[in-house]
């Protein structure tokens, strides 16, 4: 029996590079674009988090915007989770490398309601109540 890799549903923040989304699609994941769903660019962090929850998707982001305000804690707890790519280099190739590492580690249950902070060196899961203001 051949085990098929698990497929996820991802919600791309506006600042997530489009080719990285195409890469995820090529792996068979379901990918939705925040900018297409909300039909507007430049919307607030909260609007994207709400849309992501409605889509029942894992939010993919580069910025720590969802981690600097405790008002998002409850929303994150009710979400499918957030993958935060921690890299100063936001180009698609970097995102792809880090995501390939993440896929070896995550499961739906492991990330549900949490933030997965992923860099080239490490992957760390943060509970929403650990978010500190500022």
């Amino acid at each position: 029996m051949v085990l098929r890799p698990h497929k996820f549903k991802f919600y791309l923040d506006e600042n997530f590079p489009v080719p990285a989304g195409s890469f995820l699609k090529s792996l068979g994941h379901n990918v939705v674009s925040g900018i297409k769903i909300l039909r507007e660019a430049g919307l607030s962090d909260q609007k994207h988090l709400q849309a992501c929850i409605k889509q029942k998707a894992i939010l993919l982001a580069f910025d720590r915007d969802f981690m600097i305000d405790t008002k998002y804690s409850k929303m994150i707890a009710s979400s499918c989770g957030i993958i935060l790519i921690e890299a100063t280099d936001t180009r698609p190739e970097t995102a792809k490398k880090i995501l390939q590492k993440v896929f070896k580690d995550i499961t739906d249950n492991k990330i549900k309601g949490k933030i997965c902070c992923a860099s080239i060196d490490k992957i760390k899961y943060i509970q929403p109540e650990e978010i500190e203001e500022g």
């Binding site: 506006e14 430049g42 580069f62 910025d63």
Partner: protein, 74 residues
């Protein structure tokens, strides 16, 4: 020209191109690697005007920083 703005509820208050969730820092990564054309592939909703504003903002920041350390006349 497009404005560079900071609003607390978008990108946690980081400097960004008005009307987008694209930070100036993000543009900087492409500029420093002399890879600006790639940005239009990675973020198809960005326009040349957006990128030009971010570059101008970065130039001003560098100029101010140089002034502060005495590398250019104020």
């Amino acid at each position: 020209m497009t404005k560079i703005i900071c609003t607390k509820n978008v990108l946690g208050g980081k400097a960004r191109i008005s009307g987008t969730r694209i930070s100036v820092d993000l543009i900087y990564n492409y500029v420093k690697d002399n890879n600006i054309d790639q940005i239009y592939t990675d973020y198809p909703h960005l326009k040349k005007d957006h990128v030009a504003s971010a570059v101008e903002y970065l130039d001003n920041k560098v100029h101010l920083a140089k002034e502060r350390v005495g590398l250019t006349p104020a």
